[in-house]
């Protein structure tokens, strides 16, 4: 091997190889930091669904004077729901259901001020709920009712009501400790359950209980006339679709338009990231070509020597070995450098994000290591193949 290196490595310009290495490192770094950024953005977005909540749109009918005077029913009819279901932008559609019996709630607690209030519950299928809680759900025999309140309620209490009334502010984490009782009043029977707040929703502006609970309770206690659903929640694959706004306007429905606007941010972010990954892919592709051509150039520069070695009994696979060792070493350097640079960049990114109160991982994820190893293997295999082809061709001539 010493002699082969001596023969084949002589008179070779190493500059083009340096460029190939630098180019591949640049491409790798772009790709890896792109993936890192994407992964972390997704994590941040999942944690802050209020920021970017693209898919879920709540539609209600505008309230007119007719409803105030009790002349019309404000809810959605079955035909109207069916029509919404048929819209191309509506991937999933679910009407809100509400209680068909009176509900009240009160608190008896030393730590918290006492309340007593009439109440309503609404429910949507669990998949539409943005609060992730193990407590959420209902099966017969459960000893308490999990409840989700709108985030706005907590804000209203903490920043408005409590201060003006001299009551203590309650942090989100302590809300779970708040004990209150829920009274369900049926036509003939009455039941009291402890209630517990499972979380606060940014998506649904209502007092939510599990869907299974409300259907069960309506069956057991319900005696009022079932009202038409007043709100509908739908999932749209593309919330930026102008067709949504057009349909809602045309039908005289209403929705929170701000949410549709903010969803664009997500789209733009994803677009920018895909663009970044695309650029990284192109750079890696080009760097791969430089690698390929550099090695082919080295081989063709040594064509006389390779033929001579073949005459002396060296097989083309033996002759290829020094090139493969060079390739392997260079790719190893490329990967190590790219991972090191990506780690430094992601560390800096994490520090920057921390200044904006965002938690971004400072270390690279397993996916990134897998991607880089996968890429290196592909580059190695393709280049090795091309080296074998190149030397074989020379030996055959």
């Amino acid at each position: 091997m010493k002699y082969l290196f001596q023969i084949l490595w002589k008179d070779q310009s190493r500059w083009h190889l340096l460029w190939a290495v630098l180019g591949t490192i640049a491409g790798f770094v772009l790709l890896l930091t792109g993936i890192h950024f994407y992964e972390n953005m997704n994590k941040v977005l999942r944690e802050n669904e209020d920021l970017l909540d693209p898919e879920y749109i709540i539609v209600n009918k505008e309230v007119g004077i007719g409803q105030t005077l009790g002349l019309g029913n404000g809810g959605f009819s079955e035909e109207e729901i069916a029509e919404i279901r048929q819209q191309p932008f509506a991937e999933q559609v679910a009407p809100f259901i509400s209680n068909e019996f009176p509900i009240s709630a009160y608190t008896r607690s030393r730590q918290f001020p006492n309340f007593s209030t009439e109440l309503f519950f609404e429910a949507v299928p669990d998949a539409f709920v943005d609060v992730r809680s193990d407590d959420w759900g209902w099966e017969a025999g459960k000893d308490h009712i999990p409840v989700i309140l709108p985030q706005d309620y907590l804000n209203l209490y903490n920043f408005g009501f409590s201060q003006s009334q001299g009551l203590p502010q309650i942090p989100k984490e302590m809300i779970g400790m708040l004990q209150f009782s829920v009274v369900l009043k049926g036509a003939t029977e009455k039941a009291t359950y402890p209630g517990r707040i499972s979380g606060f929703s940014n998506r649904i502006n209502s007092i939510l209980v599990p869907y299974d609970f409300l259907t069960w309770a309506n069956e057991k206690f319900g005696y009022l006339e079932q009202p038409r659903p007043s709100r509908i929640i739908l999932v749209s694959p593309d919330p930026t679709d102008p067709e949504i706004i057009r349909f809602i306007d045309e039908k005289g429905y209403d929705t929170i338009r701000e949410k549709l606007k903010s969803s664009r941010l997500n789209i733009i972010l994803k677009f920018v990231l895909s663009f970044l990954v695309l650029i990284a892919g192109i750079i890696i592709g080009l760097a791969f070509l430089i690698f390929l051509l550099s090695l082919q150039l080295m081989i063709s520069r040594s064509s006389e020597k390779i033929r001579r070695l073949n005459k002396l009994g060296y097989h083309h696979t033996e002759i290829s070995r020094p090139y493969i060792i060079v390739l392997f070493t260079l790719l190893f350097i490329v990967t190590a450098m790219a991972l090191a640079i990506s780690a430094i960049i992601s560390g800096k990114m994490a520090a920057m994000a921390a200044e904006w109160n965002m938690e971004v991982g400072a270390s690279l994820s397993g996916t990134i290591y897998l991607v880089s190893i996968g890429l290196v293997v592909v580059l190695f295999v393709l280049n090795t193949f091309s080296i074998y082809l190149g030397t074989k061709k020379l030996c055959k001539e």
Partner: protein, 201 residues
């Protein structure tokens, strides 16, 4: 070796011809008659011939590159007319390049051969600065650094003086005897080498 291709004159025209390991051959012809072509074909370097070449009863066209390489390491030694030395490497490294893949000779044996051929003082010199005669002797030693059934020596004494030629020829014969190998020499004219069979192209 059983047959050689038939084309042109003499051997080329013969219906068939076999080279046997027991004999030494001298292929004698003026330039351009195909001495080197004949050896190249039997060494697997050239495929542009008609007719058939059998090596140990195998059609050479069925022999793949890996097998040719293996044969060039263990069965067929060749002293090329064009020498095929690497000019920017020392004579020693050139020889070792071959011995490295065959592991046939010890360094001492190589040095002894070089001493016999009077090129030991030049072993560490780059081949590029050696005379053609000196380089021919390097090529001879390199070819002997492998086991072989046949040694092809293509005008390998053309630039070596009579005395050194005789020594080199003796060295080659010794190696052939030791390995029970056949020898095929080519030459422009009979240089007084004592061979079993002389062929004219």
């Amino acid at each position: 070796m059983k047959e050689v291709p038939t084309k042109g004159s003499s051997i080329w025209e013969a219906a068939s011809f076999s080279f046997s390991q027991e004999n030494s051959y001298l292929v004698e012809a003026p330039s351009g008659k195909g001495k080197t072509s004949l050896l190249s074909i039997m060494y697997g370097l050239r495929k542009d011939y008609s007719g058939k070449l059998f090596i140990d009863n195998r059609d050479s066209r069925n022999i793949g590159s890996a097998e040719w390489s293996a044969m060039r390491k263990k069965q067929l030694a060749y002293i090329f007319q064009g020498l095929e030395l690497f000019d920017d490497m020392s004579a020693w490294d050139n020889i070792m390049l071959k011995n490295h893949i065959t592991r046939h000779k010890t360094q001492q044996q190589v040095r002894n051969m070089a001493a016999q051929l009077n090129i030991e003082p030049f072993l560490q010199k780059h081949c590029g600065i050696l005379s053609f005669g000196q380089r021919q002797r390097v090529a001879i030693i390199r070819a002997l650094c492998q086991p072989f059934n046949f040694l092809f020596a293509d005008e390998c004494f053309s630039h070596i003086d009579k005395q050194n030629s005789a020594v080199a020829m003796e060295l080659i014969r010794e190696e052939c005897r030791a390995g029970g190998a056949g020898l095929i020499l080519t030459s422009l004219g009979n240089n007084g080498h004592d061979v079993d069979i002389t062929l004219r192209l």
